[in-house]
């Protein structure tokens, strides 16, 4: 809803019944679907189902004490898988901490995410190699990093060269809650003034822990950038095809030198904020039911069935999900604790006397107990 109570214009391509139709005013986005084939559609569905299965398994593992915390993304699969596949092979992604779906579209090992929540490390994958940067837990900090990175892409002259094999763009993910942080406003300003090749992708899941989006903004979030000179658009965040097309189009624009833009994917956080949260204390049950009925997987399944995809495929996906769950359970149970030296490694890139001294002290202290036992 707009402040005046009107309906916000929104890019939608799949009706809740799974009927595909691109409204004439969004034809420029529709072109991006034309280049997809059935295999792409099946891949989208497989990954949405995979990440949901993963998510449910992780909540179970947390409940069993295998992780300190889990951060579910249930309900946001279309926004994440769709936009993730809209990101090009040279592009860089700067996530918040709930982007498990985006992660798998770019080959991040799911166990890397479990490691963070289990307390084995704070991240650790190679962001330059994967182009999927590290999870950022302090809200909106990554949005400025993405902006600086995109400024660097500009300095490198890899924007608007006319050669799609070398041009690059950057996308940053953040939630409705994070838009209240000053870093998002500063990033919009820096990106606009430097014409950075950057897409701001806001997943508006409508809840920031217990605060509804109405506590974060009065004006619809897709308009947040306009005063800074960053145009915005809202997409149906539960429509994987629309999310794919809008992301792909805006990343193309950024790569081609048209500057930054903002996408608001309107979706819903079906689960809790984290496993430490209890949404029944603040969220009306009927609202949850309303959104569950608009589930992104159900909608896409209806679309696929209309394309002639049959039970065999969905059974195969279910079996693959069970196998994935079994595998991550086994790998989580087998995951060793990190060694002592990890406390001191990589605090600095260059040698540092204090760190070396404190590591030597702790090693000696720990070893003194071993000696005691030997006697």
């Amino acid at each position: 809803m707009t402040p005046q109570g009107g309906r916000v214009p929104q890019v939608q391509m799949l009706s809740p019944d799974g009927i595909f139709e691109v409204p004439a005013e969004y034809a420029e986005y529709g072109k991006y679907i034309e280049r997809l084939n059935l295999d792409d559609f099946l891949k989208f569905y497989r990954d949405m189902a995979r990440i949901r299965r993963f998510d449910n398994e992780c909540t179970a593992l947390q409940r069993q004490g295998q992780m300190g915390l889990w951060v579910p993304a249930i309900g946001q699969e279309a926004a994440q898988i769709g936009s993730g596949y809209g990101v090009g092979p040279n592009d860089h992604m700067f996530p918040s901490y709930r982007e498990h779906g985006v992660a798998i579209t770019h080959g991040i090992d799911l166990m890397s995410i479990i490691k963070i929540m289990r307390g084995v490390n704070h991240g650790g994958w190679n962001p330059e190699e994967t182009r999927f940067h590290l999870y950022a837990i302090v809200l909106a900090t990554q949005v400025l990093h993405a902006t600086g990175y995109a400024m660097g892409v500009n300095f490198d002259g890899l924007v608007g060269t006319g050669n799609p094999d070398v041009d690059q763009a950057v996308i940053t993910y953040f939630g409705d809650g994070a838009t209240a942080e000053g870093d998002v406003s500063e990033a919009l300003l820096f990106a606009a003034t430097t014409k950075a090749p950057l897409v701001f992708f806001c997943q508006n899941n409508q809840w920031a822990i217990s605060s509804p989006v109405s506590a974060q903004t009065v004006v619809p979030l897709y308009l947040r950038g306009t005063g800074f000179g960053v145009p915005g658009i809202q997409v149906d965040g539960n429509d994987v095809l629309a999310c794919y097309a809008v992301t792909a189009k805006h990343m193309d624009d950024a790569r081609n030198g048209l500057g930054p833009s903002l996408i608001e994917a309107l979706t819903y956080r079906v689960g809790a904020h984290t496993t430490s949260d209890d949404p029944t204390k603040y969220r009306p049950a009927e609202e949850l039911e309303y959104w569950k009925a608009r589930d992104p997987l159900t909608r896409f399944e209806k679309f696929l069935r209309r394309q002639g995809v049959g039970d065999d495929f969905f059974e195969e996906v279910a079996i693959a999900g069970d196998q994935l769950a079994e595998q991550i359970r086994a790998e989580t149970f087998a995951m060793p604790n990190p060694p002592l030296e990890n406390i001191f490694r990589h605090v600095y890139s260059d040698p540092h006397p204090l760190i070396a001294e404190q590591q030597a002290w702790l090693e000696g202290y720990e070893a003194s107990f071993d000696e005691g036992e030997a006697k």
């Binding site: 991240g123 650790g124 330059e128 590290l134 900090t141 600086g148 300095f155 870093d183 300003l189 540092h352």
Partner: protein, 327 residues
């Protein structure tokens, strides 16, 4: 003979940045008013003309944005020299500095390095309005992942800024703003030492006096006055607040048996406090008197007409030296 020229500290920092930019085209300079104006203290004067607006540019007035984008640029392979206009304006960037800049190398298990220099003019004594005279170095020195240094003279300024830019770790580079126009000789051929080395800048036998940044001329003045009265003070320029070169301090204390630490910062929980604690631990049996801290009071920086009473001067240092000698 070595190739030496005389220049004030501000010019020496400028020349050091210029040299670093000539040596490495990934070095960028940005911040508020750093381009055409050359910064409010003219430290970046002339760099825009030499290196162009892709390497020297004005940022919006948004300190978190300055440091946050410097981090992103570091991820992209650039080495930013980001200017914070005055130390009192660094706090909007504090989150990006302590929760991101300081931690990303660790978070990434070494996949990322953060070669970012945050230049901050600091300290008082310039008759300024509020937020232009503070000494916040302890906040940053307390943060693992950062390196914190401050030159006190032109030669160190010229070399330490280059060493900071070459560092693969984030360096908070505190510039002694009230000494910007103090002239000194700069040896253009070779650095005096590493940026984390403390230096004995005046030898003495009876009391060790450790100080840094803008207080160094005050410390040397105190030593001069004391010498005239027959007291021999050894003055150490700390140069690096994190990490601290305790070896140089301890060696001196073993010789003198007494230690006074002087800085402009509020005394409690200060860099001076860390030095006092560590020296008590490492050189207890060499001490003839407790370590004495000389600093400013634990109050907000006062209005300019009161700052002379607030800031330690040579007399306050000498009062502490006397207390140490008479203990």
């Amino acid at each position: 003979m070595s190739n030496s020229v005389e220049m004030p500290i501000a010019k020496a920092i400028n020349a050091g940045i210029q040299k670093a930019m000539q040596n490495n085209n990934k070095v960028l300079v940005f911040g508020e008013d750093v381009a055409e104006l050359g910064g409010v203290f003219r430290v970046t004067e002339g760099l825009l003309a030499e290196f162009g607006n892709k390497r020297v540019f004005n940022s919006p007035i948004a300190e978190s944005g300055i440091v946050g984008t410097a981090i992103g640029l570091a991820m992209r392979g650039y080495r930013s020299v980001a200017e914070i206009q005055f130390e009192g304006f660094v706090y909007p960037a504090f989150n990006q500095i302590v929760s991101q800049l300081a931690k990303l190398t660790n978070r990434s298990e070494g996949h990322l390095s953060m070669p970012v220099v945050v230049r901050i003019p600091y300290g008082g004594g310039i008759g300024a309005v509020e937020h232009h005279s503070e000494s916040p170095e302890a906040y940053f020195s307390h943060t693992p992942g950062l390196r914190v240094i401050s030159p006190s003279n032109s030669n160190d300024a010229y070399w330490m800024i280059q060493q900071a830019i070459e560092s693969n770790d984030p360096v908070i580079f505190f510039e002694p703003k009230r000494r910007y126009w103090h002239k000194g000789m700069v040896n253009l051929d070779a650095p005096p030492s590493g940026m984390h080395d403390a230096k004995v800048i005046r030898e003495g036998t009876q009391v060790t006096l450790v100080s840094y940044g803008p207080m160094i001329p005050t410390a040397l003045q105190a030593a001069e006055v004391a010498a005239a009265e027959g007291t021999s003070i050894e003055v150490i320029d700390l140069r690096s607040m994190s990490p601290i070169d305790f070896g140089t301090i301890i060696n001196s204390v073993k010789k003198t048996g007494r230690l006074v630490v002087a800085s402009e910062a509020s005394t409690s929980f200060s860099v001076s406090a860390e030095i006092a604690a560590k020296v008590a631990e490492l050189a207890f049996y060499h001490l003839e008197a407790p370590v004495i801290r000389v600093g400013s009071f634990d109050v907000p920086y006062p209005p300019a007409k009161l700052e002379e009473l607030f800031l330690p001067d040579a007399d306050r240092i000498l009062e502490a030296v006397d207390r140490s000698l008479n203990y």
